[in-house]
């Protein structure tokens, strides 16, 4: 069922992977296309999650809404779903970010209900 929701992201143009990840880097569920989720990528995602949450605390303990890390070829969007679970989308830089973030918000409740 979670896969079905993640697949909604994967069908978006140039989206390469949609994952639900735990804060320790463990992948709960994933859907990917044309990309391999190697250990170092998992480590990178875990680093972003932990560091971003830590950074957000410097804003008077503000809750983290989203983290967006872009490189010249690809980018990664990470949004907290609930507690230590995050939805991570990896896409080529030609993907439509607005559409992705819209789908993230739209499907958040559905993902929460399945976790």
């Amino acid at each position: 069922m979670l896969k079905q929701i993640l697949n909604k992201f994967l069908i978006l143009n140039d989206v390469q992977a949609a994952l639900v990840v735990q804060e320790n880097g463990e992948i709960i569920e994933s859907m990917k296309s044309g990309i391999t989720i190697r250990q170092d990528l998992q480590d990178a995602i875990a680093t972003i999650m932990l560091d971003s949450r830590k950074t957000a605390t410097q804003f008077g303990n503000a809750p983290l809404s989203m983290v967006f890390v872009e490189f010249s070829e690809s980018f990664l969007i990470l949004g907290p779903v609930m507690e230590e679970f995050y939805l991570v989308i990896i896409a080529k830089n030609t993907a439509n970010i607005g559409q992705i973030t819209y789908e993230m918000k739209k499907n958040q409740d559905a993902i929460i209900s399945l976790l």
Binding site: A44, F68, S72
Partner: protein
């Protein structure tokens, strides 16, 4: 006197060390309006040459070196660069009681005196070698010892008698640190890089009733929110508690190297003007280089550096090309960091910002850098 000066065209408000003003105004003609605590002042500049220093707090007025020393007694000051048209500048000269031809003569004399320095440069680099020139701008690559005190900033051009004569600062010879400044481009080698007055190296106590601006680094490191709305702390207001007066005297002012060029400042200013941009900072490992916007820089820098550390940790593990930006979104807004030449940008925005627009700008900046274009 300030009120009488022509408004000019504002380029933008900035926070930077006083020396920054002199090293970045080689082609600037206008007034730099300075605000320190409750007082305000200005520096009238013609192509890198300061003609008048003035500062006023209440009924107390500082002119010439007195005002310069006071500016230099602050690690950073807040100022607004306002460009003048020739007419406006002529009017400003008149208001300040300065003979225009005298100002030109002084500039010409400075240029003449600087010719040997330029010739020396041409021995070492090709005049047209833009990359070599650019390298010279980088402080770490080729710092040059500053001229001896004879090179101290030119005194303000003759003007009306100061209504208040501040006592001369104590001699600083014994505690004077070595002072080096970076060279500018060949085009700007002739510029006197605003060497602080002798007294500026070891700061005198400003002889005024105003408080010395609190050095930002001395602020508590506690988690201080820097976001817009209620969470964002504005810079110290008049009501802020007075800082201990010993700070200015004990402080050793380290001259800041020139890193940014005029086009950079223009670009940063343009980004700052976009809707939803609360503040924008150019920073590096050691310090803030430029800040536009009304925020406390230290907490913002702390966050920016934490984010930068994160990107440095992950970049080697990802073969996704060069790092473009990282955006952290919280309910109050966004913090964006991005590489900018040899430094980094930190942009603080409201939640309503068009991220796509900012993203495009950041990508364009990087492409320009990658292609070696002039921004």
């Amino acid at each position: 006197m300030i009120d009488k000066l022509p408004e000019g065209k504002s380029i933008g408000w900035m926070q930077a060390p006083p020396q920054w003003i002199f090293t970045h105004t080689i082609r600037f003609v206008g007034v730099v309006r300075v605000v320190i605590q409750d007082g305000e002042g200005f520096i009238l500049i013609k192509k890198g040459k300061p003609l008048v220093y003035y500062f006023k707090h209440g009924r107390i007025e500082l002119h010439g070196h007195g005002a310069l020393d006071y500016f230099n007694s602050h690690p950073t000051i807040e100022f607004n660069l306002c460009k003048y048209t020739p007419e406006e500048f002529a009017q400003a000269l008149k208001i300040c009681n300065i003979d225009d031809s005298m100002a030109d003569e002084e500039i010409a004399a400075e240029k003449g005196a600087a010719i040997p320095a330029r010739a020396e440069e041409e021995d070492t680099i090709g005049v047209g070698d833009a990359s070599a020139i650019h390298r010279l701008v980088q402080p770490a690559t080729r710092p040059v010892r500053a001229e001896p005190p004879a090179d101290a900033p030119p005194a303000a051009a003759p003007m009306k008698q100061a209504s208040y004569a501040p006592p001369q600062p104590e001699p600083a010879a014994t505690a004077q640190p070595e002072f080096s400044v970076p060279e500018r481009t060949a085009e700007t080698v002739s510029e006197k890089p605003a060497p602080p007055a002798e007294a500026a190296l070891v700061q005198p106590e400003p002889v005024m009733t105003v408080r010395p601006a609190s050095p930002v680094a001395a602020k508590p490191e506690a988690a201080v929110p820097v976001m817009p709305a209620a969470a964002i702390p504005v810079k110290p207001a008049a009501a802020a508690p007075a800082k201990p007066a010993i700070a200015a005297k004990d402080r050793v002012f380290v001259p800041q190297p020139a890193v940014l060029e005029d086009p950079d400042i223009k670009i940063i200013g343009q980004i700052k003007k976009l809707n939803g941009i609360v503040a924008i900072s150019v920073f590096n490992e050691d310090r803030n280089i430029l800040l536009m916007g009304d925020v406390e820089i230290e907490p913002l820098l702390k966050i920016a550096r934490t984010m930068l550390a994160t990107t440095r940790k992950i970049t080697p593990h990802l073969d996704w090309g060069s790092f473009v930006h990282m955006t952290l979104q919280i309910p109050e807004g966004n913090v964006i960091i991005a590489p900018y030449r040899d430094n980094h940008l930190c942009i603080l925005t409201t939640r309503t910002i068009n991220i796509g627009h900012i993203r495009r700008i950041l990508r364009d900046l990087q492409q320009d850098r990658d292609h070696g274009g002039v921004l």
